[in-house]
Subunit: 321 residues, 2 copies
């Protein structure tokens, strides 16, 4: 059986999968990312995992799609200075994996891969102006217009998580003050809690949410603050794109019920200039697999070789370049 | 000679023009908008001006394109509650002008019309991801991707001027605090100055810029603040769209030399996640005529009748609806 190999590289885990042409995830496995062992070792790990998986499933790989945090060049597959992958800058994903598998390799920013997967096979299937947002350790987003990923100049992934929502906010590593990620990410939530209760350590968004459910007052305020900043960023995306659908996922949104009532209330207060009622706010449909499925979909859309093995040499250089 | 009639409706003036198929403005005239006399009277004024102009130039109108501040529905031509046109809500531009001229009428948000004109015949001719910004009484913007205007759900104009850049900022009529318009518009600049020097009245961006050039300290601080907020909004547009060109115009930018050095410096400090060096910041090329020329271009792109008078009935309902 033929399928597309998929690799989802994250700061904490690497997942691999085999994906059919219709988006079915035929199988997957994951393990921790040992970022300190470096880029090449991680690529060898990923290749080994993918080889084991395809051997187990009896799958012949047509190609490999890789989802990875940015900044990266999705056309060359060369990594920039990725905050969660220290020391990996300059890593050449395409070369490493093409020499391991001898099939075409396509790389996509992970938020874009997930956005694409949700737009084609998930929550955004009937959307023409689809916004995908992931709130986890960081904040990422992807924009899919009429089925096509929106790409910036030279194929750049727009870094929507770093747009400024409160210029008086905390400084981010990106250089700006009060960008969305610095205010609404899981890390930002934990950092705010640490400042409130300096005596305690090891705060995480998950633990804060748990405490908030148990009635803890500081945790409830942290949740309220988080909802406020999620709402401000979403308000901006609605005002700027006037989308018909926004899917909002990521680790922090596993507690969506704690945030969304306040988020919706805030949106009704402050989004008045575009048709807010047309912007459906929903959960992603593909869960943690969206990165893997999206990586395979990027391969299907962009590979020089079609799913059935026919060369389509002009397909790779996208019209947006 | 055949041409397209163009009407640019603003809160302070109405301009009319005749535009050839290649974008040449064959002639124009303008007069104040008497907003208090109401919508129908203004449409009669505009029709009379356009009739005089076409008679004088010996032009046969093929159609009329209208640029008007939003909110409005660009497909029905029905006005929403426009801040600068009080009492005009519900006005039906298409019906009024089609019964006056008996030719097809097309309506466009004024920032979108100007963006389209600049993208096709002005500063953005070689841009694939073009952002047009106008900083005047308010703040408006239009996005043109590969020559096509970006439209939101149901054809809505994205209200980029109302995206939030400093959530601790002043309340805007839109309901949000610290949206770009509330901080960086000409009105915001004048309002800040009024707060600094309550004894004086009649502040305008033009007067503040003049005083700043003469070395006045408060005016210089107002200019610095304005540059800061122009920069924050532009930083967000660059981070969100990763454009290859931004044209920034409008009345306040007639003093662009006072603002742009600080704007560029700020962008270098805070835009680090997308290729800033690829986003050329430039002045619009069409000046005050961009609204008229853009209104005519919208007509050319969307009218059911082509420039040469051939019916193209399926053209009007745009694919983005």
């Amino acid at each position: 059986m033929k399928a597309i190999g998929a690799i989802d590289v994250g700061g904490t885990k690497i997942a691999v999968g085999a994906v059919a042409e219709d988006g079915t995830l035929l199988g997957s496995s994951r393990r921790p990312t040992f970022t300190d062992r470096g880029f090449a070792a991680a690529m060898r790990d990923a290749a080994e995992m993918l080889r084991e998986l395809t051997a187990r499933l009896g799958i012949e790989l047509l190609g490999v799609g890789v989802a990875c945090p940015g900044p990266l060049d999705p056309f060359t597959g060369i990594l920039g200075d990725v905050g969660t992958l220290p020391g990996w800058e300059g890593g050449d994903i395409v070369s490493e994996l093409e020499s391991a598998f001898h099939v075409p390799v396509i790389v996509e920013n992970d938020a874009d891969a997930a956005a694409l997967a949700e737009a084609h096979w998930g929550a955004g299937q009937h959307s023409r102006r689809f916004v995908y947002v992931t709130i986890s350790t960081g904040v990422g987003a992807g924009i899919v217009l009429s089925g096509d990923l929106y790409r910036g100049v030279d194929g750049a992934h727009p870094e929507i998580g770093h747009h400024i929502v409160d210029a008086s906010g905390p400084r981010c590593y990106c250089g700006a003050r009060g960008c969305w990620e610095a205010l609404a990410s899981g890390l930002a939530m934990a950092e705010w809690m640490r400042q409130q209760i300096p005596a305690e350590n090891g705060w995480s968004a998950a633990r804060i949410c748990e405490l908030a459910r148990a009635g803890d007052e500081a945790a409830r305020r942290a949740v309220e603050r988080e909802a406020h900043y999620i709402g401000l960023g979403l308000a901006n995306l609605i005002t700027i794109f006037a989308p018909d659908m926004i899917a909002i996922g990521g680790g922090v949104m596993k507690s969506a019920d704690l945030f969304l009532p306040r988020v919706r209330e805030l949106l009704r207060e402050i989004v008045t200039q575009v048709p807010l009622e047309k912007a459906r706010l929903t959960a992603p449909a593909l869960g943690d697999d969206s990165g893997l499925v999206g990586a395979a979909l990027s391969w299907l859309q962009r590979s020089p070789v079609s799913y059935r093995g026919v060369e389509t040499p002009h397909h790779r250089s996208e019209h947006v370049r």
